[in-house]
Amino acid sequence: MTPCGPGFGPAPRCYCRSELAKPVEQLESVVIRFAGDSGDGMQLTGGRFTSETALKGNDLATFPDFPAEIRAPAGSLPGVSGFQLHFADHDILTPGDQPDVLVAMNPAALKTNLRDLPKGGTLIVDTDAFTDRNLQKAGYESSPLDDGTLDGYQVHAVQLTSMTVAALKEIEGVTPREAERAKNMFALGLMSWLYGRPVDSTIEFLQKKFAKRPEIAEANLKAFNTGYAFGETSESFAVQYEVKPAQLAPGMYRQVTGNQALSWGLIAASKLSGLDLFLGAYPITPASSILEELARQKAFGVRTFQAEDEIAACGAALGASFGGALGVTTSAGPGIVLKSETVGLAVALELPLVIIDVQRAGPSTGMPTKPEQADLLMVLYGRNSESPVPVLAAATPGDCFYAAIEAARVALTYRTPVYLLSDAYLANGAEPWPIPEIASLAPIDVSFAEANGATFLPYKRDPETLARPWAIPGTPGLEHRIGGLEKANETGNVSYDPDNHDLMTQLRAQKVAGITVPDAEVDHQEGADVLVLSWGGTYGPVAAGVRRVRSAGGRVSHVHLRWLNPFPANLGDVLRSYDRVLVPEMNLGQLRKLVRAEFLVDAVGYNRVSGKPFKAGEIRDAIEAML
């Protein structure tokens, strides 16, 4: 129990709760969206609110939504950056279809986000930012604050900037510009009060972040504190809200983003296999943070190589694999296309390689920061000739950890390149994550070939897995040459023999088709004759949509696929056991095309590619239309 407000620093005023207590209203869940200029620090604000919320014990899901431009012109519509957070006293699956509360730091943020706020929703605006110039930049002809635009919303008009600046003017060494920049911490303080968030972690965070500039630390703390106190005292906020902790499975939790979990999963795979991790990468949104995270983990022996281009990144990873390391390369679609020739070589060489595609929206450069799942057919088929590659996809941010381990396990066991698909939504989104017990993870068995006196046959396969021996340089007696030219079965010598090529093509295909993957788990509902089949990063909204249908009395079953190549062995039977199959995808029907071709099932699609994650509501509607 914190007796006095935020309880830190030289607070301007410190009121005891008992004196100032406002009525507390219980809520089951809240969706808050922070929106402001790219330079307003909305991602930081959202991230801190998320941390406070995680420590409170709520279940949560986040959706950071920001432009590709680092600093678009201040106040402009393209420069708006948003962070949506859904938190609840129960298990939730998505960052929320629409906000209950919108914090708009300027007119452009209001303009681009108001359409998502339902009537009756809470709107907190920084009135100081509603200058003529900013209104004009946002395309408002009159101020929405007083022209009736906001009728029907619960509007809290707060002089956020000027109150922040006023509160900080006593702090020496802080320029007016720097004082103004602390307004996001005022907003965070206010929201922290409004939802009764624990604040200690934010205080510690600010002290650490600005340790080198104590006056800036003080300014941010004071802004935060002032915002908190403003909530307590202002008549504009009559009620404080509480969202009780969620009843999640017992254990230790932390929050994790998809790219963070994925990076750690790769380190785990390195530990489990006993192989050094080598990451070849070239900076690209939204995959770069994997490179950055792994570059920090040198104490684990991780070698990161920021290559001259995507091609070299993949090539170096393959070279590392040749030498017996766990070779990994990361990118997004526009980089993956460049890697495809190297992936083709890895198919021919039959060496392990993990290729991670953090998918983003659109062909060519598209919309770099927005999610999509339209690279499926590319990673399956985007290479010359018959070039089979296993493909799996992560379902949630936390699942990226386990998906990375699984990708490495298959690559190492079967000596094959493996594609792991993530997307911009999983990459940046965060969720509470039960901290895995590393000791309980199954080891990955890797054995390098050793000379045994017999002639070494680099393409003589293991009868069970069809994997070829992995003989790494430095192994005496196994000197051999591999390459992209077709090889004779077993000897690996260059061969143009027609029957041999046919055989090798079949063997490569059989090897991938024969990879053991777990059966698809059916979330079956008794009496359901509609099956929803989803994959990848849409798990949250699709599962939430299924729940909504069921809670309204509808009957529907759900399968979420992890493995796209090969498909689980039971998938055909599962699909055929339902009358109708709905495949929702953030593409124009790529998995649907595959299951129709593979299983002759008349699957129907729900397809939308807006650069935004699915909403549970639209999935519910799509399912209900089929019931």
Binding site: G251, M252, F278, A312, G319, S321, G324, G474, H480, G484
Partner: protein, 302 residues
């Protein structure tokens, strides 16, 4: 070396039939490399030859070492991944003028600037041989080939100047049939820790025969670089550590000076890429336990 190796030239010949055109300069280079290898004192399993695509790129198949025949232009990139994870190996890249300077130009210059511990042998025959005779980035202007019936309008690359421009720490030139000179350059390259770049003039007797006759056939045209001595009458005193001297010498040609410099243009010591990467790993502080890493930061118990 703890144990004395008694390897011979024969030990480095693989069982694969060599399939270059009869009379190709590649045969001479292969023979020189195979006969030099025992001198290295490395066991065969510690040697790796990586190539891209082209005639020269078949080279690894003929070496009884580890080898990879990879993708057009990508050998330096692939070899970088191997060299940085396996500093115990001696990694050689065999490439051609199209492979290294056209499709793989980017990888070449970056491997050189990073000083990756690779020995890069560029067989320069100034033609695309495997695709049957199109002009290459080192073909002279006016070169008439299948793809330039009226003569090439391209200005060619000077491979040595390019390597020097990329700040390569070892730059040398040799001639395919000059076994002694080539062996000496290989020896120096092999002992250079870091990126070593060697241009080898190589005759393609099918599509560009006679390209280097002025120096192949005329031993007088060959002028071997000697550290500390003036090169011919150029006024350039050769100093392997002097970038400007090396660059000036890279511009000396038969046409301009009536002499062809052969040997080592530049040889300077600098930490190699793998060493620097390893140093960072060795000096890394912070969490090195995965359980601690996943449990770091803000956590809570339910």
């Amino acid at each position: 070396m703890a144990t004395e190796l008694k390897l011979t030239t024969k030990d480095f010949k693989s069982d694969q039939e060599v399939r270059w055109c009869p009379g190709c300069g590649d045969y001479a280079i292969l023979a020189a490399v195979q006969s030099f290898m025992p001198e290295l004192g490395l066991s065969r399993e510690r040697l790796v030859f990586i190539s891209g695509i082209g005639c020269a790129a078949r080279f690894p198949y003929y070496m009884q070492t580890y080898g990879m025949h990879s993708i057009h232009g990508r050998a330096p990139a692939i070899a970088t991944g191997l060299a940085v994870t396996r500093p115990d190996l001696s990694v050689w890249v065999v490439t051609g003028d199209g492979d290294a300077l056209s499709i793989g130009g980017n990888h070449l210059i970056h491997a050189l600037r990073r000083n990756v511990n690779l020995k890069i042998l560029l067989f320069n025959n100034r033609i695309y041989g495997l695709t049957k005779g199109q002009y290459s980035p080192t073909s002279g202007q006016g070169k008439v080939t299948g793809s330039t019936p009226l003569g090439s309008v391209d200005y060619p690359f000077n491979p040595l100047a390019l390597a020097l421009g990329a700040n390569a720490t070892f730059v040398a030139r040799a001639l395919d049939t000059d076994k002694q000179g080539l062996t000496e350059v290989l020896r120096r390259a092999a002992h250079h820790r870091g990126a070593a770049f060697v241009e080898i003039f190589q005759n393609c007797n099918i599509y560009n025969d006679g390209e280097f006759d002025y120096v192949r056939e005329n031993k007088e045209a060959r002028t071997y670089l000697e550290h500390g001595k003036e090169f011919g009458n150029t006024g350039i005193v050769h100093d392997e550590a002097d970038f400007a001297a090396a660059f000036a010498l890279s511009q000396v040609t038969w046409e301009t000076h009536g002499a062809v410099p052969l040997g080592v243009f530049r040889d300077v010591e600098r930490d190699s890429y793998d060493e620097l990467v390893q140093q960072q790993i060795d000096n890394a502080t912070g969490i090195d336990d995965l359980q601690a890493l996943v449990g770091s930061g803000d956590t809570w118990r339910i």
